[in-house]
């Protein structure tokens, strides 16, 4: 069993972007993604997840390093200015290189 390095990109943002983002992630080359519901606080204030307009989602994508960069660029370009969003990434070990 040999181990391969990929990048785990995590996006935390407004739930209203879920359907749009998931399409865009696939378009940009992700083979998959995982979404969990979240709440939180940031520069755009508290998002308590009690009703639609104030729900957050947490999207994880395991992807190659360069696609991770591509996605980060895209998100910064399109969403940072007007949406509650943070993005961070780091390397992870996976077994199936061609799956991600």
């Amino acid at each position: 069993m040999d181990i391969h390095i990929r990048t785990l990109l995590t996006i935390i943002t407004e739930s209203s972007l879920e359907s749009g983002l998931s399409k865009e992630l696939e378009m940009l080359g992700a083979n998959g993604y995982t979404i969990t519901d979240a709440r939180g606080k940031g520069d755009r204030g508290e998002r308590v997840a009690e009703w639609d307009a104030e729900k957050n989602i947490r999207i994880e994508v395991v992807i190659s390093g360069d696609i991770a960069l591509k996605i980060t660029d895209y998100l910064q370009e399109k969403y940072y200015k007007n949406f509650a969003m943070i993005v961070y990434s780091h390397e992870v070990k996976v077994l199936r290189p061609n799956k991600f």
Partner: protein, 314 residues
């Protein structure tokens, strides 16, 4: 006195102010809204099933007109007096041009508990009034720029939870009719006010959570959030009388005009006018106008409707 269910709203507000950890779980809040939307749609549909549909055309047109006028009046006020950015002014205007189903539900309860008659097809007007302001708002923010994906806008509006359930309920009610729906009435109609009480409890909590932002964004939002519905209610009242509606119907139309959206419009604006700050519009709509309407507005609009009817000797 307003309806006792308002006490649940106040309980929510108080719980929010004392920072209670009381919450209506989000999924339950979603379902409670769904029940209200469906129930309102079904009630309207059942009535449409009884009466000819066509002679409603003038009313539908009139209401559509209201939905265009109100945001066009609100916009300059917000832009020049309120000194908001264009996008924010347009977005807030759209919120106030559209309707709040929660406010409508409270009005239904108010009329119901007083046995006041109102035209049965009002829910249809509710649906109609929800839409035009969204389009006007986007145009005010963007002009006729090619940027705007109108396909997305239309989808956002009609595929949204609100319209889907209201229209769905209307159609189901209109097709099935009262008798064949008797078996689902225990859930959708008998529980209506109880469910509304739970909904208002959570709305109180949400309203209270907006007070912080309200302080931050200053007095204008508070004033606008009260004066705008008052003005809109007069517009609604006049249209109601012009359309020869009953006192109750006039009051309902006034309430619809006076109410500000917090479901359909915010969702649509977030997609089509993302640079508009949602906190501004929701603070005004949920933090000021919703409480004002359910506590003071509705009874007031009813009085006004009575007065005008008397005045015009209708």
């Amino acid at each position: 006195m307003t309806d006792p269910i308002i006490l649940f709203f106040l309980l929510g507000v108080i719980a929010g102010l004392v920072k209670s950890e009381l919450r209506l779980p989000s999924q339950v809040y979603d379902s409670v809204s769904m029940l209200l939307l469906l129930a309102i749609g079904l009630k309207g549909g059942i009535e449409l099933n009884k009466q000819p549909f066509l002679d409603l055309a003038p009313q539908i047109l009139a209401v559509f007109l209201i939905g265009i006028i109100l945001p066009l009046i609100a916009f300059p006020v917000l832009l020049w007096i309120g000194r908001f950015k264009r996008a924010d002014a347009a977005s807030i205007a759209a919120h106030y041009g559209s309707v709040s189903v929660g406010t409508y539900a409270v009005a239904v309860a108010y009329m119901g508990s007083r046995g006041i008659f109102f035209e049965a097809h009002i829910p249809l007007l509710l649906v109609v009034l929800e839409i035009p302001a969204i389009v006007v708002g986007i145009l005010l923010a963007r002009g006729l720029s090619k940027q705007t994906k109108w396909g997305t806008v239309v989808h956002e509006i009609f595929a949204g939870k609100g319209i889907m359930l209201l229209l769905g309920g209307l159609v189901i009610g209109a097709i099935a009719g009262s008798d064949s729906l008797a078996s689902i009435k225990p859930l959708f109609f008998d529980l209506f006010k109880g469910v509304l009480a739970l909904f208002l409890l959570e709305m109180g909590l949400i309203a209270a959570s907006k007070l912080g932002a309200l302080r931050q964004y200053g007095i204008f939002i508070a004033v606008f959030g009260i004066l705008m519905p008052l003005f809109s209610s007069v517009v609604g009242t006049l249209f109601g009388i012009g359309l020869g509606m009953s006192i109750g119907g006039t009051a309902m139309l006034a309430t619809l005009a006076a109410s500000a959206s917090y479901i359909a419009v915010p969702a649509a604006m977030r997609i089509s006018v993302p640079e508009a700050n949602p906190t501004l519009s929701l603070t005004a709509s949920l933090g000021v106008t919703f409480p004002f309407n359910v506590i003071i507005g509705i009874p007031l609009y009813y009085k006004t409707a009575q007065w005008f009817h008397g005045f015009f000797g209708v």
